[in-house]
Amino acid sequence: MPTRKSESSPSAPEVKQPHTNGSKAANAPAVKRPQPPIGKNPWGIPDWRLEQPPFHIESDWSGEEYRYKVVGDTNTPVPPLRPSKYLSKEQTLEIYRYMIINRQMEAALESMYKQSKVIGGLYLSLGQEATSVASAYALDRDDWLGPMIRNQGSMVVRGYEPSSAMMQYMAKGTSPTKGRDSGSHYGDPKKLNVIAPISHLGDSIGVLSGVALGARLQGREIACLAYIGDGGQSTGPTYEGFNFAAVRKLGVVLVVEHNSWAYSTPVELQFACKDLADRAIGYGVPGVIVDGTDANQVYDATHEAVERAHRGEGASIIEAKLMRMKGHAMHDAAVYVPSAVKEYWQRRDPIVRMEQYLKETGWMTEAQMKEVHAEVQRYMDQEREQAEAAPMPSPEEAGTDVYFDNGVDIPVKYGEVRVKQSNVGRKLSESSAPGHYK
């Protein structure tokens, strides 16, 4: 069996450290703004949104074509962002820039896909940038992230350059997985604390429970941010993995990205409850509903959940309501989505809403915002050039690194194992304890 090790096993190439702003940025206090009141859903789950889409989708199998139809009003006005309780101006601007990076990176990927440079499928997150970016932004350096396919923005916040994603999608030999795994399936256990997702939906959640358990044995309470879709949350592993965290009060923060569609299946055909945050009651953890196109709400809710995790109080669920603005992948034009629904959400573009907020707060002028776009564009061109120029993997890499070398020590992540051992030394159980220690 090959324990051959190639030069370096796949993990993040040299990347910058995850930012250390977020929850620890006490030096730049948030600007206090009046908070609109917080509502509750029928089950008592706090709902931070400033609007609730006054429509829903129904299956319409009556006409000539099967289709989904909208019931209700899609023309309601767009509310402003909820002011953040925690974000400073600098942090807000950083989140804004990350959202633009997220979007431009995916625009570049889309072009590259159409030029046959991308290998395999391409999954985009247009309209979901606020959720990816602002939630990941709430994590500390020692916390962990368990992304899903559409969380390229979270990966960038965590410290990956866009070229990493591009090289992944182009299957380059210098991609984080050296061309071994596809698209968003990359991660780094050493520096960036990002779990490499697998395709199987929900399978990372239990892993993050384990990471939190491992950290606890090393005397640390950390937050582990997991994402799951409105579709993916239907799997058993989602329940099994998260229940473990709930029972053991491990700091798993589950962000349910309720983007209204799972491939072609609307939420109405995915689950019977109205809000997925209701599940928090069943798990016995706090749950909250936020507007997923409002970066402030997403940040604040995640920040509170992360703080809770750091205090050792356990897991939380955040349901972010938003919309997947493109098809499931590039081959899918999402014609099954009624156009009125698309238009409703187009008016709630998270970046446009953020720009409105920046204007209202006076934190940025339109010209400054244009400059951010242009600066990111230049950065993205460089990243793209670099990714395109990167070599494909050499064939020998296919079978190396299947096993990790036993000669290499695997360090413990948080220093040392520190258990309280409160009950150690209590009397041994009555029945036959092993002879050699009795």
Partner: protein, 596 residues
């Protein structure tokens, strides 16, 4: 430094391509990325740009020829190079190519063997003084998945039909948003497509002037088909819509010449010798002729032990066992097995002189076992190992039968054409007694006993070269004469080697008659899978006490014969054997059967 031009791989599953057109001729100047030739493959037709600037010095593959990918099709020399005349085997100049397409074909396999990574090797002899590095554009690693020629960044970028979904293999161009001559920006919408899954606007892959639209609106093409070119000089010869069918499709090269020459000389006439991979290896390593070894394995298979025994007795061909030490690897099993044979407990110790242990046979001629001998040896040992042999001997007074025979034998032979011997008497008695005692006519099968429906009596026949047991089938249905005839016939044909295979199998009980040599009695070995065998001892005149009807004893001279029953105690107990033999004795002593 000359640069080789190779047939590109236009798609993962593509392994060959046809050159449909050369756009340059030897002696022409070419720019890097300038269209050089056109190809057609199963997936896509494409214009292939030159990998380097210089002078086209040589065209190796003519139009209309199909070659494997990575075959060198042309050579570009440095500026100022002269076109070469036919140089190196199989190379053709463009003139030659026009007439001799078949010759070009012949070069294909040669070029195909040459990986692109070592292009220097294919450089023609006049110009190839030093190996040239692999041209960047020829490096497959720089390509997209389907080999889209996206590597060319300046002076002509091909625009291809994208793959919009894993299962999608074609798309329709619904609209061109630019026309030839327009300047486009990178990522600026260039055309619209429609596929089975999605409709999309496709952005330009590079900035530049749209120099050529190859696929008009409304046309459906496979993915990765080049639909337009941005930048570069306009091709003077617009690509024909359809690739030219490989017109004079040259017949496949005929490597038959070499294929026929090596008819296996060994395909001889001798029978297949059953052995094993190991035995064949031992034979090879020790130069043994397997046909000289008789096998003791199932169906006469030569086993390892047969081969080793043969070797041990000096039966090797030219190589003595000691010599095999020069091939330690090959000799290992021989040694190991030999070692195991002498010292089973120390099987792991490396025997240093195995030959000495086995190589001192007593003087004498060594004659290999005949096939029959081998089978007999195997069967006998197997029987001894299988059955729990027990023997019981009964004395039978045959006087009555002897008298009957003496009286009848000449008439009998005249009447029936068969000698009247003692065997049919014994066989007929056995048939009757077996009927009354079915356990003697049974076999053990796994955890069960099979009581045979028929009584098939095997008769052991001694031959000069061994022993064989033909079988009188369904003896219970035969008359005395029928049995007598059958025995005589089988024995005669056994000696004439005329028995059929089915006549020597299927027995349920065997009678062997070594008594003719004067023995008292023997202890015969059961013929598996039967459970009993009757041994017939010699006939002797013996003083015998006889008791008359009144109970008066007297001594008389009687013809006495000893019968032995060898039986398998696994299923036959001594009492049953005794009962059977007592019955036999009674039947024979009081013979009253019709002899026909």
């Amino acid at each position: 430094m000359p640069t080789n031009v190779v047939m590109p791989q236009m798609g993962e599953s593509i392994f060959e391509g046809t050159i449909t057109k050369w756009l340059k001729k030897p002696g022409d100047q070419v720019q890097r990325d300038e269209p050089l030739f056109e190809i057609s493959t199963d997936k896509v037709d494409a214009e292939i740009p030159a990998p380097a600037a210089g002078v086209l010095t040589e065209i190796k593959i003519a139009e209309g020829t199909t070659v494997e990918i990575n075959t060198v099709v042309a050579v570009i020399g440095e500026a100022g190079s002269q076109p070469v005349a036919s140089s190196g085997s199989g190379s053709v100049t463009v003139d030659a190519a026009k007439e001799a397409k078949a010759t070009a074909v012949a070069t294909a396999p040669e070029g195909a063997n040459e990986p692109v990574a070592a292009p220097g090797a294919q450089v023609s002899s006049t110009s190839g003084k030093e190996p040239s590095p692999s041209p960047a554009d020829g490096d497959p690693a720089n390509r997209g998945p389907e080999g889209a020629p996206g590597g060319a960044s300046t002076g002509g970028t091909n625009v291809v039909m994208p793959q919009m979904g894993e299962s999608i293999f074609e798309g329709t161009i619904t609209k061109w948003l630019k026309k030839v001559g327009d300047t486009v920006q990178r990522d600026e919408p260039l055309f619209e497509i429609s596929t089975d899954k999605v409709d999309a606007e496709i952005p330009a892959p590079a900035a530049g002037v749209l120099t050529e639209i190859k696929v008009p609106e409304g046309t459906t093409v496979e993915i990765n088909t080049v639909v337009a070119v941005i930048g570069g000089s306009k091709s003077s010869a617009p690509a024909a819509a359809a690739p030219k069918p490989a017109a004079a499709a040259p017949s496949a090269p005929a490597p038959a010449a070499t294929a026929t020459q090596a008819a296996p000389a060994a395909a001889g006439t001798h029978d297949r010798i059953r052995s094993s991979p190991l035995v064949r290896r031992i034979a090879k390593d020790n130069n043994l002729d397997l046909s000289r070894i008789s096998g003791t394995g199932m169906g006469g298979r030569i086993t390892k032990n047969d081969a080793l025994a043969f070797l041990a007795q000096g039966g090797a061909g030219s190589a003595a066992p000691a010599q095999t030490q020069s091939q330690p690897q090959a000799a290992a099993p021989v040694k190991a097995a030999a070692a195991a044979a002498q010292a089973p407990a120390a099987a792991t110790s490396r025997p240093s002189t195995p030959a000495a242990a086995v190589a001192a046979p007593l003087p004498g001629e060594l004659v290999p076992l005949s096939r029959m001998r081998g089978i007999i040896a195997e069967r006998m040992v197997e029987s001894k190992r299988t059955s729990a042999h027990v023997h019981t001997v009964f004395k039978v007074d045959m006087t009555r039968i002897v008298r009957l025979r003496d009286r009848e034998k000449s008439k009998y032979e005249q009447r029936n054409g068969v000698k009247l011997t003692f065997m049919p008497f014994i066989a007929m008695a056995a048939v009757q007694c077996l009927r009354r005692m079915p356990i003697i006519n049974a076999s053990m099968e796994g955890n069960a006993i099979r009581y045979h429906q028929n009584i098939n009596i095997g008769i052991a026949v001694a031959l000069d070269w061994g022993l064989i047991v033909p079988v009188v089938k369904q003896a219970e249905e035969r008359s005395f004469l029928g049995v007598a005839r059958a025995i005589a016939d089988l024995a005669a044909r056994a000696r004439a080697k005329k028995l059929k295979p089915e006549e020597v199998s299927g027995g349920t009980f065997t009678i062997t008659n070594p008594g003719i040599f004067g023995e008292q009695f023997g202890t015969p070995v059961i013929n598996q899978p039967e459970s009993a065998i009757l041994g017939v001892g010699g006939m002797f005149k013996e003083p015998t006490v006889i008791t008359d009807a009144d109970g008066v004893d007297s001594i008389a001279i009687r013809s006495i014969m000893r019968l032995t029953l060898g039986f398998d105690h696994r299923i036959i107990d001594g009492a049953d054997a005794g009962k059977f033999m007592a019955d036999m004795k009674k039947t024979l002593e009081n013979w009253d059967g019709d002899i026909g």
